[in-house]
């Protein structure tokens, strides 16, 4: 049993690293298009979104399948989202701008889509740093509150995507559709929980009055 879980972990981690390996290969083999740095931005950005969406898909999956062993995979997927987001940011700062801070500051100041992206990154970074079990224990109830910020990060990354487009909304709309489903699932679950607790309350109330 332990060996099987171990294998699943190894395979999962390798699968999550595969896009990075492919990206490095494409850089070395010069397979990216003429605007190579932008191609890097698009690739690392796409994989950040995909991992963020996968992270957000775990809870609905858990609810639907009743399988409780997925929280650790959620943490792993979230950390991979952070890894690809970090590559995205490093690519911007050091490949695109070669670390020229004056140009970077002006670029960010004049480009609203970068504000959204930066905010999304800061949130993901914060969530990544507080993701270890020890931090979770220490933070108690506030951990859950803090980690709800992932919804804000998802919204900001979506804005970051839409805000810089000249055309071709097909891909961002696809990501938007998925995140709407994932959010909607939570809203439905929340209403059900409210209703359920209301029912319990009324039941208890009825019990009390009948006694």
């Amino acid at each position: 049993m332990w060996a099987r879980i171990h294998t699943i972990w190894t395979v999962s981690i390798l699968a999550c690293l595969a896009p990075l390996a492919l990206l490095v290969w494409d850089i070395l083999a010069d397979n990216l298009d003429g605007n190579t740095v932008q191609a890097f931005h698009i690739r690392s950005g796409d994989w950040t979104l995909r991992f963020l969406w996968l992270t957000l898909a775990i809870t609905p999956l858990q609810t639907l399948t009743q399988w409780r062993g997925m929280a650790e995979y959620r943490q792993m997927l979230g950390l991979f989202a952070l890894l690809y987001a970090t590559l995205h940011l490093v690519g911007y700062l050091f490949f695109d701008h070669a670390g020229q801070w004056k140009t970077i500051v002006i670029d960010i100041a004049q480009s609203p889509y970068l504000w959204f992206g930066l905010l999304a990154y800061l949130i993901i970074l914060l969530l990544g740093l507080t993701s270890p079990k020890s931090a979770k224990k220490k933070m108690g109830k506030s951990w859950k509150k803090l980690h709800r910020l992932i919804y804000l990060a998802a919204a900001m990354s979506m804005l970051h995507y839409f805000w810089q487009l000249k055309t071709n909304l097909a891909e961002p709309l696809f990501y938007l559709a998925i995140i709407i489903v994932l959010f909607a699932f939570r809203v439905v679950m929340w209403f059900r929980a409210q209703k359920a607790s209301l029912n319990i309350n009324t039941l208890q109330l009825k019990k009390q009055t009948s006694e």
Partner: protein
Amino acid sequence: MIIKIDKTIPSSEITDPELFRNRRALLKAGMVSALLSPTALLADTSTSPNSSDWSHLDVADNSLNRGNATPVQVVKNYTNYYEFAFDKQGATHAAQALNTDHWSVEIVGEVEKPCSITLEDLLAKQTLKDYVYRFRCVEAWSMVVPWVGFPMKALMDRVKPLSTARYVVFTSANQPEAMPNVRKNLMLAWPYTEGLRIDEAAHPLTLLAVGMYGEVLPKQNGAPLRLVVPWKYGFKSIKAIVKIEFARNAPLTTWSRFAPDEYGFYANVNPNVPHPRWSQYSERPLSGGFFSARRKTELFNGYADQVASLYDGMDLRRLF
């Protein structure tokens, strides 16, 4: 009735015995010259747009050093052509469907000689040169392209705009059968339309280009005839021109119409006037390599010395 056919061979077809005796030497000589210069076999290499060797043209005065040119494969594969596709690779592929046969350009409006000029006729009267220019896209990437063409002014001298002409309006080919996004009427108002003030059009930097890198323009890069205005964002440099109108009033150009707050009529390259959604302060020169960092964008794309006087007293922030 029997028709008699004269079977005698006309004297013009009789080979000169001297030539006949030397035929082997002549054949050899012909083969050698064909090998040394394959273009010698092609007719009229200087003007025909379909069989052109423009690799040894004179370089125009305003040119950058040819050594600065962006690798040709990058230029051929990284270009916007929304009539065909919204992504650059798709556009390069789909643009091959453009029909460039029997091309002619209509010259209309406030002009002494309205006419329709075939491409051959147009080129027959022009001296083509190499113009190595910077090219800056509104998307904040840039290239250096060696265009083959002639100044727009030369065409104006030929067709003679009237004094009432204050703007020049260019229209792209409208081929719905070849252009998927025109056929589906997607996004922009087709056909693509661009315009210049007449003094901008007459500026010596403004070109009509028919080639690049010493060859005929690839279809995705604007074949067979495109505008090149190097101090303006690339979308001003309209491709596949079929109509040039000299107008009294400023036209509503395609991108201005689509998003007037984002794309102005002038569209002069200006690092101090950001696009509403992104900075224009710097640009990414496309070199074909991964490690090519951004550089600062120059006012009028580095052509300020030559064109700034066109805009004396104008508020470039308002008239962006």
